[in-house]
């Protein structure tokens, strides 16, 4: 089975990458875009025996840096 993990910056943490993307979007002529925040999508193929709590542990131990990031686990 496949699980998608979304890692995003916490609110209040400055995102220079998102800012640069925002500037580029404006440079392309799009208006009305208020803010852009960039994150990371990690797809994990695994046996059903890998539990939700295993996945959470993977997130807190490695996939996300809990000082600056949050994660969301999406199971198909």
């Amino acid at each position: 089975m496949k699980t998608r993990i979304f890692v995003t910056l916490k609110n209040g943490v400055l995102d220079p990458q998102g800012k640069a993307i925002h500037h580029s979007i404006e440079g392309l002529g799009f208006s009305g875009v208020h803010d852009v925040r960039a994150g990371r999508l990690i797809e994990i193929e695994h046996e059903p025996s890998v539990s939700k709590s295993d996945l959470e542990t993977m997130c807190t131990k490695l996939l996300a840096n809990m000082v600056i990031e949050n994660f969301e686990i999406e199971q198909a």
Binding site: Q17, N65, V67, I68
Partner: protein
């Protein structure tokens, strides 16, 4: 004095660091590969060098922080062995939980590679005793992810406990409160983005980095 420099795939300042330690302190200095489960016996200093360990995949320092050798480094740090992390080494120490905070992408997006001014904020640690508090020194930086972040409570605590070792004299990368280097609670672990090992001989354009190693030698010897 005995020292080890840890090498990860992608480290590129390991030899510079080893040469600086050996030449300045005379320490017997061993290069230790990241797969090692044990460190050499009787170490006084462990240096985590700069570079791009594991290609900076996932986050700078994230993979290296979970490598076998870092478990041994964490144990050594708990025993009071001095641990110096420079640049990618600083990123690895925060990812490993030995130092608070995180190093994020530079606020200006660009890689910054130049000599910068630093203020020595606290000269009571083994690493900074070769300097005077308030002294300004010139040390080069070369990084993309040097933007120090911690929540304001953590920053206040660091400042209150005298754990900010170095501060930039200008805004280099967007770091919170211009912090360039921090100490752990025990004062035996220092992480800093600037490269003292690149400023140790007149031929480097200055030798302000030299006193960091001289201070360590005085402390340990």
């Amino acid at each position: 004095m005995r020292a080890a420099v840890i090498q990860f795939p992608g480290s590129n300042c390991d030899r510079d660091m080893a040469v600086a330690i050996r030449d300045i302190t005379g320490a017997e200095t061993t290069l230790v590969w990241h797969r090692a489960g044990d460190l050499p016996d009787g170490l006084d200093l462990i240096a985590i060098p700069g570079g791009f360990s594991y290609g900076d995949y996932l986050r700078s320092g994230a993979m290296a922080a979970r490598s076998p050798v870092m478990q041994a480094v964490i144990k050594a740090a708990e025993r009071g062995v001095s641990v110096l992390g420079v640049c990618n080494g600083f990123q690895i120490l925060t990812e490993a939980g030995l130092l608070p905070g995180a190093l994020m992408r530079n606020a200006g997006i660009r890689f910054v590679c130049r000599t910068v001014g630093l203020t020595v904020e606290n000269n009571s640690s083994a690493f900074t005793r070769g300097y005077s508090t308030g002294e300004q020194v010139q040390i080069p930086v070369a990084h993309h992810d040097g933007n120090y972040f911690a929540d304001s409570d953590t920053l206040d605590r660091l400042e209150g406990e005298g754990r900010v070792a170095f501060r930039y004299t200008e805004n280099v990368n967007g770091s919170a409160r211009n912090i360039a280097g921090v100490l752990n609670a025990g004062g035996n672990v220092l992480g800093m983005m600037p490269h003292p090992e690149r400023m140790t001989e007149a031929v480097h354009g200055g030798s302000d980095g030299r006193r960091l190693f001289e201070g360590l030698l005085r402390q340990i010897a």
